[in-house]
Amino acid sequence: MARVVVDPITRIEGHLRIEAVIEGGRITDAYSSGTMVRGFEKILKGRDPRDAWAFVERACGVCTTVHALASVRCVEDALKISVPKNAELIRNLMFCAQMVQDHVVHFYHLHALDWVDIVSALKADPAATSTLAQSISNWPKSSPGYFSDLQKRLKTFVDSGQLGIFANGYWGHPAYKLPPEANLMAVAHYLEALEWQKEIVRIHTIFGGKNPHPNYLVGGVPCSINLEDVNAINTERLNHVGKLINDAMTFVNQVYIPDLMAIAGFYKDWGAIGGGLRNYMSYGDLPTVGYNQPDSYKFPRGAILDRNLNEVFEVNGRDGEEIKEYISHSWYKYQAGDEKGLHPWQGETEFNFTGPKPPFEQLNVEGKYSWLKTPRWKDHPMEVGPLARLLVAFGKGNTEVKDVVVDALGRLAVPIDALFSTLGRTAARGLETKLVVNWMKGFYDDLLANIRNGQVSTFTREKWEPSTWPAECEGVGMTEAPRGALAHWIRIRDGKIDNYQLVVPSTWNASPRDGKGQRSAYEESLLGTPVANSEQPVEILRTIHSFDPCLACAVHLYDPEGQHIHRIEIN
């Protein structure tokens, strides 16, 4: 029996470590540990609730906007503020821009190298690559000369001994199945995506004033609309947004989706690997008639148990019996005992590190082994993320979602059960990107129509002053980060934050098991995964990366000197 330790799997926003037990070439057990402490709750206590967004936005370099959105929503929920329609539309546009950018970056820069062999691309025939590219898409950058130039640059880069971004892949591993031409095409799109992603996020600068930390505002959005004013959201800026949305639709439909389908075709066996949990949850997002009307959301809210798509359960973030966090295996302590589950409004953040001093060989998984708490919905472990969002929408009978899912399954000639897998998770991310760029265009058109009708309000001052607030109140701000259900819970007392708790998507997916021994999504999804060579566990990366672990930029495994680390122990 070998125990493989992969640490870190990501380098951003909470380092993640996976320990997997391999017997007879398959994973028989797995442990997921968040090895970096969080402590937002302590930073926020006593501050002005209207400022919280600016602090939580710093949680992560990737998810800045979604944390800010969850934050302003929880304050508005507590104070019963409804934002003007234009503010809802602008927030939706920022949400969509972030999701589309993040999903593209995930596919090409964080996940593709689990499937694409960079070194093999050097062997590709540029003319055949051109034929391949033109057979799957109308994207214009597809001439033999284009691929030939790129291959030369890649060769110079690799020959210089500076693999850099491509260092530490398991190049030549037999699990890589793409022909050299598909690999070269993917490298071309890796670089094109890098150039493209910086355009779409200009939407954050336009509406949020700056990037990477755009401004948010309790009660609306911090930008005014005035078509003639150079400092406001004017005609020029709106035209720019329109162009960025059109370019995004083109890139997603002509590059991302064709690549996804082409690559998936070579890895259909991964449609039966990595399924893991049978429960899925989405808080939903993209409101069309207000945050308090989840039935109006483009992404519906709900939970699915035991993969039964015929029944979608209601999810209520305010119900003290639904969402609770456990710490049986987490380095915290609760006043009423570590076996209790606490609803986030009652949440406590007291550290209780009992683990080994780093560096260490192995975690004591019988005891506490992670800095992540273990959230449960009605005591069930839930998977969150793009797949959960699509399944909940599918279960609710959303025809837009059903159509793209059924079409993709048909084109790949795989059964619906293939959704419950590593491949399904990666495909779901692409399919929802296609939906989101379309919705984005709709929100943009609605915003223009409102402005033409003379509606320019973006902020409500009602309840801005703390003198108008109740002495005590509580709220929950739910959203969908690219990697899954995200919510902030706030209690306000005498105008100050009394308690603030974040339950982030990677907590749902990457948490340790609960007191009953139920695994969370990462741990469960690794069970049964084949590992051809435990020295090069690319299969573990495929499944864990399919969740888009909360990371911005870790392409593969690095230690601080730039080497990948994983240790093998034979017990």
Partner: protein
């Protein structure tokens, strides 16, 4: 390259997470610089831990002056001026944002356009719990870092380099 803005020339980019104490020293330096009148063609940016989001501003600049924390065992507040070429030339940072930034710099080689990069690496103790604000040792180094950064900016693009 698509760009809706003129090249900034020189970009002073502070990197770090202000919620992680000393780790946010780069961002603190940018805050100090925001009160200083900068020469023409020099811009400041609080990069946070922005990773991919920083590609655009970095690509638009001809020279990037980075300020980042490093956990290298040297006395807290020690400042080193480095001119890294590749990802492997960067000092150990231990923090969550290092890979993204280094990856971007390597990506510039493949994208065919690379700014000159000067890094001021500020030694800090290993970060512990999240908290806001920097330690007195690192705080004392901030005016010196500001001075070094401004002197570097004054040398212009392609200026004196190690």
């Amino acid at each position: 390259m698509m760009s809706n803005q003129e090249s900034a020339g020189i970009l002073i980019l502070g990197i770090g997470n202000m919620l992680m104490g000393d780790e946010g020293v780069g961002v603190h330096v940018i805050e100090k610089l925001s009160g200083v009148e900068l020469p023409r063609g020099v811009e400041c940016l609080d990069g946070g831990t922005g990773s991919f989001l920083l590609l655009d501003p970095m690509q638009r600049a001809r020279k990037v002056i980075l300020i980042d924390a490093t956990v290298d065992g040297a006395a807290p507040g020690t400042v080193r001026r480095l001119t890294p070429q590749y990802a492997k030339d960067y000092p150990r940072t231990l923090t969550a944002h290092d890979i993204g930034l280094k990856d971007l710099l390597d990506a510039f080689y493949l994208l065919g356009d690379r700014p000159q990069v000067v890094l001021f690496a500020v030694s800090i103790p290993p970060p512990r719990e999240m908290h806001i604000g920097i330690s007195p040792e690192v705080e004392r180094a901030v005016p010196r870092i500001v001075r070094m950064v401004l002197e570097e900016a004054a040398t212009g693009v392609g200026g004196v380099s190690a």
